[in-house]
Symmetry: C2
Subunit: 269 residues, 2 copies
DNA sequence: ATCAAAATCTCAAATATCGGGATTTTGTAG
DNA sequence: CTACAAAATCCCGATATTTGAGATTTTGAT
């Protein structure tokens, strides 16, 4: 059936649960997915037992408790979130702004932690909000620091959008802009995501110095000048670098601990 | 292999990601799960494509972006969370307390929204934190309002724990306590979950008047007396009932809208 | 550029999956 | 409490899919 294997077919069920539609009855799912009744019920039972779906009698199926638990797990145990949070607060205390920590997942960019020091933020950035892939300071702060090969691939894939932002009219042009970002250490974008808002972002690196996240301040354009964008940028890239270092240290510690646990009797005879 | 079907085997991978261990390399997973190399890689690819897992080169696999996104979706679109939040704030403004909205998932009880008005809460109740199933006011506020049959089954399943709390020495005894809770409209528990903390909780109902969640105030025992437990209880059960009503209204609206969309030309000729 | 480790591919055997239809369970209404 | 309709599950043979050993390619570190 439609070229996918059964695993994909089960997981395809999850794709139907969107912002517009968080509840589906089995009949609606059958209709939509084209699975036979026993098959669908088998799939649903599996997903329900795994906690990824939940069913309320007469109200169909919804996303299940496991999702909430797993996100809790990630929030609580994700070293990046743990190390990042104090720095987000540092930034929001210093500037009237929103500060975000945004993870780079290869094909997706997702806010994983945020803090805010202004009463009515022009736009909100809660955890889990997907961010545009090729637009804004966050995006560029990551793209600019990717290995050349990967960066060029990404520029080509998003060429139309990048050009429409005004970053250049050729791949080489845009790559040159990226080089400038790399030299500066942080990316700045004015009104690219939200009109009137300036974004200032710097990358967080993993051990191999590959960007894995971005630390970002978004501040009203009218205020950005007063606080000096270069001042903010310097601080953001400094804090981002500090997170990278903390992650690195953490990783080293974990490794040591694991080696001790994994082979406690492994000292040579 | 081990009596499970392949869907279960794929989803079993998720079970390994716990608080203590959020990163697994393929080799470790092979060892732990006993799958062959190609099979495991196939499974991992599927999960990764679905976004449930993410891999960092040289750092193994972790839970993926999809989890974060789905939780965001649920937070944003869950009618119960939306309707509940203002009432949580109402409670935290009125009392120095934590206020929680906790969903009942049949086998699990999970905090889905929380608010807090005291600087250093004795214990924190963030979204996603699992709550004890048979202990505390939340648990009892739901149990007491379940259909008799289901309630008795649950009492039997958790008999030892319920007795150790001092709710009675026989199923009949405990059922009698539940009857009292039902009559009162809310449950009170002193120090059952956290020493020195009083929990006051009332159920939220679905259309069929089956409890689906609980609204709860947790307040320091030393403060509870001053604010009068019965006063708090009355308010909590009143607000819980209000959420139930809002859910019911919402549901009716959704149904109307869906009927219009689903069969826009269905008016009789 | 070189090499080891990690990830993917190949392919035939075998095993688990699928779906039509009967059957049981659940929830509702009388 | 009983009866009924709807929802969910079970049965079982045909069949397409999954599986794993080993070869092969890709990746990433030095």
């Amino acid at each position: 059936m439609s070229g996918l294997n059964s695993l994909d077919r089960v997981l395809a069920i999850l794709d139907l649960f969107t912002e517009d539609r968080l509840e589906w009855t089995p009949d609606e799912l059958m209709q939509e997915l084209g699975y036979s009744r026993p098959t669908l019920y088998r799939y649903l039972k599996t997903m329900k037992d795994a906690g990824l779906l939940a069913s309320y009698p007469n109200a169909g199926f919804t996303l299940g408790p496991r999702v909430v638990e797993m996100d809790y797990l990630m929030r609580k145990s994700d070293a990046m979130v743990r190390h990042g949070r104090p720095h987000l607060e540092d930034l929001t205390e210093r500037y009237p702004c929103s500060a975000l920590l945004v993870r780079w997942y290869g094909q997706r960019i997702l806010c994983v932690a945020a803090d805010c020091s202004i009463p009515d933020p022009l736009s909100s950035y809660p955890r889990g909000r997907p961010m545009p892939l090729a637009r804004g300071a966050i995006s560029r702060s990551i793209m600019a620091f990717l290995p050349r090969r990967q960066m060029l691939a990404m520029i080509e894939e998003n060429f139309d959008e990048l050009r429409s932002i005004g970053l250049g009219s050729s791949v080489a042009d845009i790559a040159e802009r990226m080089r400038e970002v790399r030299k500066l250490g942080y990316a700045v974008a004015c009104g690219e995501v939200t009109p009137g808002v300036v974004g200032i972002a710097a990358p967080v690196f993993d051990t191999a110095r590959v960007p894995v996240a971005s630390l970002c301040v978004t501040i009203a354009g009218t205020l950005a000048a007063a606080y000096r964008i270069d001042e903010i940028g310097g601080r953001v890239s400094d804090l981002a670098e500090r997170i990278s270092a903390q992650l690195e240290r953490q990783r080293a510690e974990d490794e040591t601990k694991q080696a001790q646990e994994g082979a406690p009797t492994a000292r040579r005879a």
